[in-house]
């Protein structure tokens, strides 16, 4: 009995940049579009590293779709871009501005609450014009099917809704992508985990300490030996009157090293190199975390099924080009292409062809080639081979390797290599580019930092305490609470730690019938909804109800 259900021509799930781009494009094409967002306001559920790009080669850009975007929704543009290779106090800085500017029309730092809530207003106005609109506080929890075919969505707060097209832009933990069997949360190797602190800093201090005018900004990246050997790195971006400082690591590496994400962030925050910017002052406005798909492995080349099309993180569309991470720009392109595909298919009277058209557009417009470069497949087959990786790593770390690094630097090759989009896109996911090489470069070529950094980041309890929650019913169920099955979550969860009793996951030794069991327990109250535990532990994971759970003020 689905005849009484509401019907819209298109339903867009999620009002981040991908959903906003899809909805705006649908509305521009006259399509009746309903947008459903589960946060109390768009952006309240979102965290991102903090840079959005407009690529010269992209079919769509966010400011193309929303002309006032840069003046009203974003923070500072990135006008300088540096990579710091770190070994102890030794730092070798390489200017990556060329790599950053490759194919880039502009790139701005953003804070998601501000950015997405601005988009929400525009999208609502546009979609209302064509008979739809945008609703917040509505959690879409599954697909509505009739005779096995996807015909709409089901929601906690509303009766089921039918639609001719469903665009799932519901983020990295997309419940619709899983419901359709198009994405899974199985393999830690396909994911990164990012954690981020927003640090208060007046515009005048940013101007003075970073040497920038009000319409300029800086990006700094950090790699080397400051993260306990975990594969990944750190970043610092300047916002209008705050800094985004964070870390991004391969999830499998975090699990293998049993590293605590918040401690790795603290290692960056307290490194002497940061003293020049923090100068002993540190007020953390917000701590957040996010799971990041590695598009090279996770991007679905055929992200559609029936009336359903996936865009953005929901389809694994997040490109790590060496140290540069591009996600939101691809979500914008994909969202607009999915919308375009549906409008065209509908005009031709064959709305069912939208998905196939979308797939073709992703390929023809070059989006898929950026997300899953063929050359990476070839390079990784060699570079990620265990024996080759081990030899390469030892070589870079050897006296011979040091000689090579010094020679490369003298010839300017080092800077050129780091600034080569080609080299960066074929970097293998091994220790070498993330840890060994940066450390060796810093040891061979770096100069020591003399300053002391005496900032004291808040502890985990304070970080959790500063977040805003409207706790609903528990949204995660631990299916297997043995330490063997789910213990990795204790350290990998960004709001849990091995010796901390106030986080989501806790390590427990329980004596039963004379023998001791090693178990984990779960309390979802401080959950930041990153989804890490869905991958590293055995859980039944879903989002909290609309408007419930964590609410990011900055994002």
């Amino acid at each position: 009995m689905t005849d009484d259900y509401e019907h819209y021509e298109a339903v867009v799930v999620g009002a981040g940049p991908g959903g906003a781009a899809a909805a705006a494009t649908l509305a521009q094409n006259g399509v009746e579009t309903l947008v459903l967002e589960r946060g109390v306001e768009s952006g309240s559920k979102n965290v991102s590293g903090g840079l959005i790009y407009a690529e010269e080669s992209a079919p769509y850009t966010i400011d193309g779709l929303f002309p006032e975007f840069r003046s009203e929704a974003s923070e500072r543009p990135v006008t300088e871009y540096y990579l710091h290779n770190v070994a102890g106090r030794n730092v070798k800085t390489i200017d990556l501005t060329d790599l950053h500017e490759h194919d880039t029309t502009w790139s701005d730092a953003v804070l998601r609450r501000h950015m997405d809530s601005w988009l929400e207003g525009r999208v609502h106005e546009m979609t209302r014009e064509t008979g739809g609109g945008l609703l917040t506080g509505v959690r879409v929890d599954g697909l509505l099917r009739e005779a096995g075919e996807i015909v709409g969505v089901t929601c906690e707060e509303l009766d089921p809704i039918k639609a001719d097209a469903i665009i799932a832009a519901d983020g990295v933990n997309s419940e619709l992508a899983r419901d359709a069997g198009l994405m899974d949360w199985e393999d830690p190797e396909e994911w990164f985990q990012g954690v981020k602190a927003i640090v208060d800093m007046p515009a005048s201090a940013i101007a003075e300490r970073f040497g920038v005018d009000e319409d300029e900004g800086v990006a700094h990246l950090f790699s080397g030996d400051l993260f306990e050997g975990v594969r990944g790195g750190g970043f610092l971006y300047t916002n209008d009157d705050s800094l985004s400082i964070g870390t991004v690591f391969h999830l499998d590496s975090l699990v293998a090293e049993a590293a605590e994400p918040h401690e790795l962030l603290d290692a960056l925050l307290t490194h002497p190199l940061l003293d020049q910017w923090l100068q002993g002052e540190y007020e953390e406005l917000e701590y957040g975390a996010k799971l990041v798909p590695d598009s090279k492995k996770a991007a679905n080349p055929s992200p559609h099924q029936g009336r359903l099309m996936l865009v953005g993180d929901a389809a694994g569309q997040m490109q790590a080009q060496g140290p540069i991470i591009k996600g939101m720009n691809h979500a914008v392109s994909a969202g607009a292409l999915a919308a375009e595909a549906f409008s065209e298919a509908q005009t031709r009277g064959r709305p069912g062809e939208a998905g196939q058209r979308y797939e073709t557009k992703l390929r023809d417009e070059g989006v898929m080639a950026k997300l899953r470069p063929t050359r990476y497949t070839v390079a990784s087959a060699v570079g990620e081979n265990g024996a080759v990786a081990s030899v390469t790593d030892s070589l870079v770390d050897s006296p011979l390797g040091r000689l090579g690094i010094e020679a490369a630097d003298r010839l300017g090759l080092l800077r050129r290599a780091f600034n080569s989009p080609f080299v960066m896109s074929v970097m293998p996911d091994t220790r070498t580019p993330y840890v060994t090489a940066p450390t060796a470069i810093a040891e061979a070529l770096g100069t020591p930092v003399r300053e002391e950094n005496d900032v004291e980041p808040p502890d985990l309890a304070d970080r959790i305490g500063d977040l805003t929650y409207d706790v609903g019913d528990p949204h995660i169920e631990l299916r297997d609470n043995s330490f063997a099955a789910s213990g990795a979550a204790v350290s990998a969860c960004p709001v849990s730690a091995k010796d901390f009793g106030g986080g989501c996951y806790r390590d427990e030794k329980v004596k039963t019938n004379g023998h001791e069991e090693h178990l984990v327990s779960l309390d979802t109250q401080p959950c930041v909804e990153c989804g890490t535990c869905a991958i590293v532990a055995d859980t039944e994971w879903e989002h909290p109800a609309g408007g419930k759970g964590v609410e990011f003020e900055q994002g």
Binding site: E6, Y8, L34, H124, G133, L135, L158, D159
Partner: protein, 284 residues
Amino acid sequence: MHTLVLTKGVPDFREGQVSFDEDGHLERGKTPTVMNPNDKHALEAALQTKVRHGGTVSLMSMGPPGYKEVLQEGMADVYADDLYLCSDREMGAADTWATSITLSTGIDHLDEEPDVVFAGFKTADGETGHTGPQTCWCQDWPIVTHVVALDIDEEERTLRAKRLVEGDVEEIETVEAPLPCFVVADPEFEPTYRKAEHRLRHKDLRAETQKRAENFEDHLEVYDQEELNLDPDFIGLDGSPTIVAGVDPIPKAPPEREATMVDPSDEGAMADVFEELEPYAGAD
């Protein structure tokens, strides 16, 4: 669908707002007037009706000119279209009976007869719960009280409601009544918006009303005695059969601890305070 909500301004009884004199009498001049908190449920029921069925919502109250602000507050809450205030010196000091007669005449005076009149569940000052039912009696319409859920069939001109039997949350009955009809919303009333279309309309109305409430006086009509032409024996104090025999102030609770006042500029006295506190401070 045209609905009307009856509302009343009452003293703000919240701690820190309300003011009593030495004899325990309420000081009206010093206590702000707010919308009767129980009227919120009537407003929610009316808003749900407007969102689901379209049409207009009007608010009506009887009271001094200062009640205009109460109506403005209600306008913002219920996204009302029009406001009506029955206000005249001759209507003052009315009990619930005289008030009901005045409001009923006010309803008859409207350009368009409402399909549903919503009344709140007893007022915070009088606590009688009489005014809604008595006004209905004057109109000779059906009334459904203790309503917790509501559905209207516009074509059939009927209203179907779930109501608490004797106000008991354990026992709920479903009743049907022809329109026009009076509805008293229970504090347990929960508006439900399960359709996206309704939530979108709700959002539109909010945006529209924000502007309207800023210029609420453009949408306000005051009905005075000249306009309503009521029999003076049936309104105000003269029309009120209720006689207040007396008022027993609620005795003040005795203090649980003895307090000593200390002048902070008196160093000696302050030193004594520190001496007193020291054992509890956990200092070495």
